[in-house]
């Protein structure tokens, strides 16, 4: 998943079909016009002489030679640089805030208060997405309600939640496919209004869970359609680059119907990359991918982060969200939590030490309640005590400070200590803690 980018003169580009090069700029056209002029002059002056044919061929060879020299080293990826002004599929420099036609609306104080801060790396960046009290109801059913969060430019933001929590509806709403019932949002610097739909869609790309490809068309034909819809003037170099990015360079002429689900997913990703979006909404991008392909997608998302593209990642894979996302939001019709995963852990779970001893302590209460830094304690349960060993969970404010004191207390109590470790909670623990205790989930 490496991006190739070369720079070169824009005068000529390699022909897509046939041999040689064709002009791509006015300089190229001037050179070509001169060559044609010389060839015509030779025909006019020399008329029926055999030298005419030789001369015309020589002019053509010289012209193509100059074109070849000027485009030296420009392969398929190099043609991206030759394309008339279209930016590459993935920006090579961190994105700067676009010069939006409409100034972004300021989020309400409530929105700011409810949103956990973005990580330091993206905290100073302007918000790519500001959502304030957004609600969507379908008749009697509420898809999502009072959703408030913001996403900084260049941030990878995870959007988690159980089935039916409203994740896809939220993405569709932010993508202007569905009108919200109430609330406001600013997407890529543009207020979410009915009138701004086209402009917002021009600046974002959404990759649905089902890539939705035309199976009777080839990969390139599919991408050509979307390049045309995004108004790319010379789409072919961009298409080649997007395909290279998802390692599908060799499958461009295959019918999409002949591709496996994983490969179709990659084509969907290439399509999302085509328009050089400010925000990419990825809905389960690794769904159906084998581990190697999923890892390549993870690399691609990391690459996008490095390049300043904001990624809004909807996923069920919690380890994926933990690995990739700067922050995550957990939605269950209402937003249950937003923040960095370590902040969520700290807010939901008290910090603790897990102690394992070779045999149960005679008076664990005496040992632990007198130890400095330990707030409370409990046994880990019957399963932990199997084989004669005993386990204890100690609630502590600072595990690093409390651990030495606990060790000393255990030694003083003549306990055979097997291990003392800080308890680590995964994002899955956080997710389950939030969702399992959620009345919305119980009703669903």
């Amino acid at each position: 998943m490496t991006m190739r980018r070369t720079t070169g003169p824009r005068w000529f580009v390699r022909r897509r079909m046939g041999f040689g090069f064709r002009p791509a700029s006015w300089q190229g056209w001037v050179l070509t016009a001169v060559a044609v002029g010389v060839a015509v002059a030779l025909v006019v002056v020399l008329r029926r002489s055999v030298v005419t044919l030789v001369g015309v061929v020589a002019v053509l060879v010289v012209h193509q030679g100059i074109a070849a020299l000027l485009t030296r080293g420009n392969g398929p990826a190099g043609r991206v640089a030759d394309a008339a002004g279209d930016p590459p599929a993935v920006p090579t420099t961190p994105a700067t805030p676009p010069a939006f036609a409409t100034p972004p609306a300021a989020p309400s104080p409530a929105a700011v208060a409810a949103v956990a801060p973005a990580p330091d790396s993206v905290r100073s960046a302007p918000a790519a997405l500001v959502v304030d009290d957004l609600t969507k109801r379908f008749s009697q059913r509420t898809a999502f309600e009072d959703v408030t969060f913001s996403v900084a430019t260049g941030e990878v933001f995870g959007f988690l939640g159980p089935n039916g929590a409203g994740k896809t509806t939220t993405v569709r709403t932010l993508g202007t496919l569905i009108a919200p019932t109430s609330g406001t949002a600013v997407v890529a610097g543009i207020p979410l209004t009915a009138e701004n739909g086209t402009e917002i869609r021009q600046r974002i790309s959404i990759m649905p869970e089902n890539p939705g490809l035309y199976l009777r068309l080839t990969v390139i034909e599919n991408l050509e359609l979307f390049a045309g819809l995004y108004g790319l003037r010379r789409p072919r170099p961009r298409i080649d680059q997007a395909l290279e990015t998802v390692n599908l360079g060799a499958r461009g002429r295959d019918l999409c119907g002949s591709l496996s689900k994983g490969l179709r997913q990659r084509v969907g990703l290439a399509r999302a990359l085509l328009s050089d979006p400010a925000i990419m909404f990825l809905d389960e991008p690794t769904s159906g991918l084998d581990p190697v392909a999923a890892r390549e997608v993870h690399d691609l998302i990391n690459d996008l982060r490095q390049r300043g593209v904001t990624v809004f990642l909807t996923t069920h894979r919690l380890e994926e969200a933990e690995r990739l996302c700067d922050r995550v939001a957990i939605l269950n019709t209402r937003l249950r939590s937003v923040g960095r995963t370590d902040e969520l852990r700290e807010s939901l779970f008290s910090r603790s030490l897990v102690v394992e001893t070779a045999a149960p302590l005679d008076a664990p209460g005496d040992v632990f309640t007198r130890t400095a830094g330990v707030d409370s304690w409990r046994t880990t349960g019957a399963e932990a005590a199997a084989g004669g060993a005993a386990g204890y969970v100690l609630s502590v404010a600072d595990p690093r400070a409390a651990a030495p004191a606990v060790a000393r207390a255990l030694v003083a109590a003549r306990a055979d200590v097997l291990s003392i470790a800080e308890s680590r909670h995964s994002l899955e623990d956080v997710y389950l803690e939030l969702i399992d205790k959620d009345p919305e989930a119980a009703r669903r």
Binding site: T176, A179, Q202, L229
Partner: protein, 267 residues
């Protein structure tokens, strides 16, 4: 409303590519015209040298009617597939997430359906008229087929009837949940304008250039009105979720009227 030529061209190009690779549609586009071509040809060739003028007019009228069925039925099959087909394949949502306006999408689909339909219709007119000129035993038959009212009718009615058929087909397609149902209903709903042609065929209306132009004008108005109605009906939210868009603070489609959110029954 501003239409973007590049986006329109992209939709038309895609539609042509998909149509040319869809065996069902190619079959419909090929078989029906042949059937509607053979009937008048056989009738013309069966005529002797001295045909009563009433019979000549009847044959000219029925030929006219049969040939005009083609630009009605062929695009109906294509148009009926247009929206529900996208939805069945799962391609509608990715399409709607692009900057494409609904008018561009609908017009692109309509152009892709109207061009082959009208092309086939004109080709059939040319074949029938040409064969009549060369092979008809009675010159009156050939003359009846190329009289001015007939020619004006053929040239104007074919694209206008096709346009009507397409907009009706797309409207049905936008509401239907199954391609076959959409094609059956779309074809049925596109037939009423042929009633006027049938009245000419039955000699209830006397064919004339004035009548042809009047009917063409009425069809043109109906086509434009139908386009606007279909564009207003094309609601992204309803197509994706089955619920009509409510005029909220943002998103959705511009022309969606305010109202209570309600489920729209699918056909």
């Amino acid at each position: 409303m501003r239409l973007n030529g590049g986006r329109l061209a992209a939709v038309v190009r895609k539609e042509f590519r998909v149509l040319l690779r869809n065996r069902f549609i190619i079959g419909t586009m090929s078989v029906l015209p042949v059937v509607f071509l053979l009937t008048p040809m056989i009738e013309i060739f069966r005529l002797g040298a001295d045909v009563p003028s009433g019979l000549v007019q009847r044959i000219a009228g029925s030929t006219f009617l049969l040939l005009l069925v083609v630009p009605v039925v062929v695009p109906a099959a294509i148009a009926a597939y247009s929206v529900v087909g996208e939805r069945e394949q799962g391609t509608l949502e990715p399409l709607l997430t692009t900057p494409l306006r609904r008018e561009e999408l609908l017009l692109g689909k309509a152009i892709a359906a109207i061009v082959p339909s009208v092309g086939i219709a004109y080709l059939l007119f040319a074949i029938v008229d040409g064969c009549a000129q060369v092979f008809a035993a009675d010159p009156a038959v050939a003359a009846a087929l190329v009289q001015s009212s007939q020619l004006v009718g053929e040239l104007l009615f074919a694209p206008l009837l096709a346009g009507w058929s397409i907009w009706v087909g797309i409207a049905v397609s936008a509401r239907a949940s199954d391609v076959r149902v959409a094609q059956q209903l779309g074809t049925l709903a596109s037939l009423p304008p042929l009633g006027v042609v049938a009245l000419i065929d039955l000699q209830v209306l006397t064919p004339s250039v004035t009548l042809a132009l009047t009917f063409a004008l009425a069809l043109l108005v109906a086509d434009v009105v139908m386009w606007r109605i279909v564009a207003a009906m094309f609601d992204r939210e309803r197509l994706l979720t089955g619920a009509r868009a409510r005029r909220g603070p943002g998103g959705g489609d511009r022309d969606v009227a305010p109202g209570v959110v309600r489920r729209i029954p699918r056909i």
